[in-house]
Amino acid sequence: MWKYILKRLGIAVVTILIILLILFVLLEFMPGTPFDMTEGNITDEQIEVLYAKYGLDKPVLYRFVLYVKNMLSGDFGVSYVIQNNMPISQMLEGRLTLSIKIGAQAMLIGTLFGLILGIFAALKHNTPLDSGATLLSMIGASVPSYVFALGLAYVFAFKLKWVPLLYNSKKEFISTILPTIALSFSPIASIARYSRTEMIEVMDSDYIQLAESKGLSRFVVIVRHGLRNAMITILTIMGPMLVSLMTGSTVVESIFSVPGVGNLFINALQVNDYNVTITLAFIFSAEYILMMLFVDVMYGIIDPRIRVSGGKKA
């Protein structure tokens, strides 16, 4: 198993490097420079001076090697535009953890309620209760999260005043509640749909009948025998979902003015703030790749049939 994980980590590093290279090349083709937006007119000579200052006049490959070298020592460069000359690592510090935190919370709620809803629908398969649960998850899947965000903000922050309307760094946890809930609707819906389909299939299988014929309680049969087998498929969609939640939602972050990375990423792209864009893209890809690795390891833990050879002997 460890050999497998190490091998996968090696592949992950190579993948990330390739992604970085592609990003460098793509940004090179982007129209404009980081310095168009600075207020007032800026002459071509001035741009050249700035380019030389930040080393942007060098060839792409040279910059790429240099960037990777610096990155390894934890230096992601400075922001050119958004916050002048501020080191990226410092700029992202609070934002990244906040986005990850909200995303993880949303995922936790999404998984919990999604599974409950899905299992419930599967057990009450083909009854009005099932149709109700399916309808709920359909709404969750098709209505965009900002609609929920606005609704929640209106009811709980504006009318009831239970939570602050806008993000307040002094009341961090309570401020993350609404964004978390708004973000969790989509994972609830997807996980409910997947777990319903999977559970219906699993609960119909012979080993469930055998488990029932052993005289085990319904709960044990559903959780120990049913859910564990259904999880194999559900897990597949959970990895990418968690990453997309953790990379921050621009819309939800805007509505609650959460200082996360979702907004920052869009902003950086618009103003050609190269270092910010590349760092965030790098972090997002790394999150994604690590999550896929984690999911693959989880497969092995849940399903002995996929347990990778080369580890413990069968």
Partner: protein, 363 residues
């Protein structure tokens, strides 16, 4: 091959006039239409019939394993057992499902399923699956349960039980898996073992081994066994009593000697004629014409009549009652009525019966 006429006197399970129907999108299917069956202690009963004749539904209703669209119209399943030294008889159909699962399934009545490839949980180690029932019903701690599970696996003929305990289903062969399933079934010392086509999914060479194992366990533990099968070879090998089922009814019932050597129902004749024999001189193998009765429609008369070349006019009009041939043998066909014309089994079958009676082997 045991045609010894041991008397089985202690009635343990009695199915009385069981009727079950299914609600489907096409309408109500009357899958079980008045089944009567007895099972005695130590007896092996084989229920034989083609797919869809209701064998599985009948025995699954004993265990309370029912589908959502299944409805028991009427009938009783009386189970007699000893509880605290006293004999108790309970109607399993009148008990709530929860109670059946908690007090009967696994402990008093256990089941071996058809396909060992799919009846073990792929994500749980064999050991855990064997121990699960023991720990729940016999209130053992982990260590005792482990030892008991190893013991059980040894009893079902698994050579390296300790190793198998840590394995997963996909690492075992079909025969091994079926042994594990049997170990799970006998784990809590049941009275009744239901085997739903236990050898159908297995390699022919393994089939005999598994049947022998079940027979050995039956002797050791004085089990009453119900086999569901459409393999008459299995029946001849293991059964004391045979019930032939067609379209949700038992059409003929008797000791296996009676059913194999003195069959009365035309459907039984058809089944027996359809067994391939080694010394046939290139004749076409007999098949019963037509297809199974569609139970979506109300059955008028004898359900087998349209496929029965010996059918009388009354077969299409009125359902035949059960005629007793001996204390143990009965069949439900109008041919047994005193007024019926004399009809004999097909010549080929008669010859075969004569021949095998001399040689002493049917199959």
């Amino acid at each position: 091959m045991a045609y010894t006429e041991t008397a089985y006197t202690e009635k343990i399970l009695e199915i009385k006039d069981l009727s079950i129907s299914f609600q489907t999108s096409a309408g109500t299917v009357n899958a079980i239409r008045g089944v009567n069956l007895d099972l005695h202690r130590g007896e092996t009963l084989a229920i034989v019939g083609e797919s869809g004749s209701g064998k599985s539904v009948t025995v699954k209703s004993i265990m309370g394993i029912t589908s959502k669209n299944e409805h028991v119209n009427h009938g009783e399943i009386l189970y007699t057992y000893e509880e605290n030294g006293e004999k108790v008889t309970r109607n399993l159909l009148s008990l709530p499902r929860k109670q059946i699962i908690r007090h009967y399934c696994g402990q008093r009545i256990a089941m071996v399923f058809q396909d060992p490839m799919t009846s073990l949980n792929p994500t749980m180690s064999i050991g855990k699956q064997v121990m699960e029932g023991i720990r729940k019903h016999r209130k053992m701690n982990r260590k005792d349960a482990w030892n008991e599970a190893v013991n059980l696996l040894t009893q079902v003929g698994i050579v390296n039980p300790e190793h198998v305990m840590k394995s997963y289903a996909h690492q075992l062969s079909g025969g091994m898996r079926q042994r594990v399933v049997i170990a799970i079934a006998i784990g809590c010392n049941p009275d009744i073992l239901i085997c739903d086509e236990p050898t159908t999914a297995l390699d022919v060479t393994i089939q005999a081994r598994i049947l022998e194992l079940i027979q050995k366990l039956q002797k050791q533990r004085n089990l009453s066994i119900i086999y569901i099968t459409h393999d008459l070879g299995v029946v001849a090998k293991v059964a004391n009593t045979v019930a032939i089922m067609y379209a949700g009814k038992i059409v003929e019932k008797g000791t296996s000697y009676e059913v194999f050597y003195d069959p009365k129902h035309p459907y039984t004749w058809g089944l027996l004629s359809a067994i391939p024999s080694l010394d046939s001189d290139g004749e076409r193998l007999y098949t019963i014409p037509g297809s199974p009765a569609n139970l979506l429609h109300e059955v008028k008369g004898d359900a087998f009549a349209p496929r029965n070349r010996y059918a009388l006019n009354i077969d299409f009009e009125e359902e035949p009652p059960v005629f007793k041939i001996s204390d143990t043998h009965e069949a439900s066909t109008w041919l047994l009525h005193p007024d019926a014309p004399e009809v004999h089994p097909p010549i080929g079958l008669q010859k075969r019966i004569q021949q095998t009676l001399q040689e002493g082997l049917f199959i």
